[in-house]
């Protein structure tokens, strides 16, 4: 199974995401922002970082990169697509998922080990977890507060589209402690914390993050 990992100028966690794919047993394929070709991949990850410096709004500029066109098309057709951190922001800017990511309420970049509960295991990226499972993975971002209007929030809650929630104190001011959401179909997931940094307890707080990557490999086999 081939998983594409996109590099925009300013992307930082691309190598980590590729490593996580390999650890999960998949093959990672590097995708370049300026290349409007998916090179036959079965799924795509938009990794974390500061694409284009994130100067305007996070993800606002990268969503217009040439590679995004085929990605958006394929994802609308059901291809699994995971946006982590900056990738989540790109998904929101591209309106592939509702809402927006805004400045952390404490106004600081925050890097810490974060507990999450997995609340929806029916997506392409979460099927390896059990409903309600608590996991520990790094959170690191400056603009991670998930915002949307009340209607959208009610819809997300009602349809079970919140896939992960922060446990304990709200780290960034996200509405309803949202850490990650999915689209209606369950193939697109946006996640603020970083599972790719938690695939091995030697370099991360746990190996809990691996589940996201094994999930998609399972989903693709089906």
């Amino acid at each position: 199974m081939k998983i594409g990992v996109v590099t925009f100028p300013g992307t930082l966690d691309d190598r980590d995401a590729a490593r996580a794919v390999r650890h999960a047993g998949g093959e990672s394929v590097a995708l370049w922002h300026n290349d409007a070709d998916l090179h036959g991949v079965d799924a795509v990850i938009l990794p974390g970082g500061f694409s284009y410096g994130d100067y305007l709004r996070c993800g606002a500029i990268s969503r217009f990169s040439p590679v995004m066109e085929p990605i958006i098309k394929a994802a609308q057709g059901g291809m699994p697509l995971l946006g982590i951190c900056n990738g989540f922001q790109v998904l929101a800017e591209a309106h592939l998922i509702p809402g927006a990511l805004t400045r952390n309420h404490e106004l600081h970049f925050l890097c810490r080990d974060q507990k999450l509960t997995i609340e929806n295991t029916n997506t392409a990226w979460t099927s390896s977890f059990t409903q309600g499972q608590e996991i520990l993975i790094p959170l690191k971002n400056g603009e991670g507060a998930y915002m949307c209007d009340d209607e959208t929030l009610a819809m997300l809650e009602g349809e079970g589209r919140i896939i992960a929630r922060y446990v304990g104190e709200n780290p960034n001011g996200s509405r309803n402690l949202i850490a990650g959401i999915t689209n209606e179909r369950g193939n697109i997931v946006g996640l603020m914390p970083h599972p790719e940094h938690a695939i091995d307890s030697l370099t991360g707080p746990s190996a809990d993050g691996l589940g996201f990557f094994t999930s998609v490999l399972k989903a693709l086999v089906k």
Partner: protein, 81 residues
């Protein structure tokens, strides 16, 4: 050479932590004038000559598509001398 200014502010219903932080810092420095503070972005765009209506329409489009995120922000466009 004219300057087109685009102001982008968070929608009133969206929490503005930066504005809140400024509002909280002012009284600590002895400034008591503010009842509320909101912080937004200001873009100064330079164009050659006086902006044409077509250019201004383009700026509106760019403001909507790129400079702001309509999910959380409002914007205004105006010409400044």
């Amino acid at each position: 050479m004219a300057k087109i200014v685009v102001d982008v502010m968070l929608k009133p219903e969206i929490l503005d932590p930066q504005g809140k932080a400024v509002a909280a810092a002012l009284p600590r420095l002895g400034f008591t004038f503010a009842t509320d503070v909101r912080q937004g972005k200001r873009f100064e765009i330079e164009v050659d000559g006086d902006p044409t209506p077509a250019q201004l329409a383009d700026v509106e489009k760019a403001a909507e598509k790129l400079l702001s995120n309509p999910v959380i922000e409002n914007f205004t466009v105006r010409v400044e001398k």
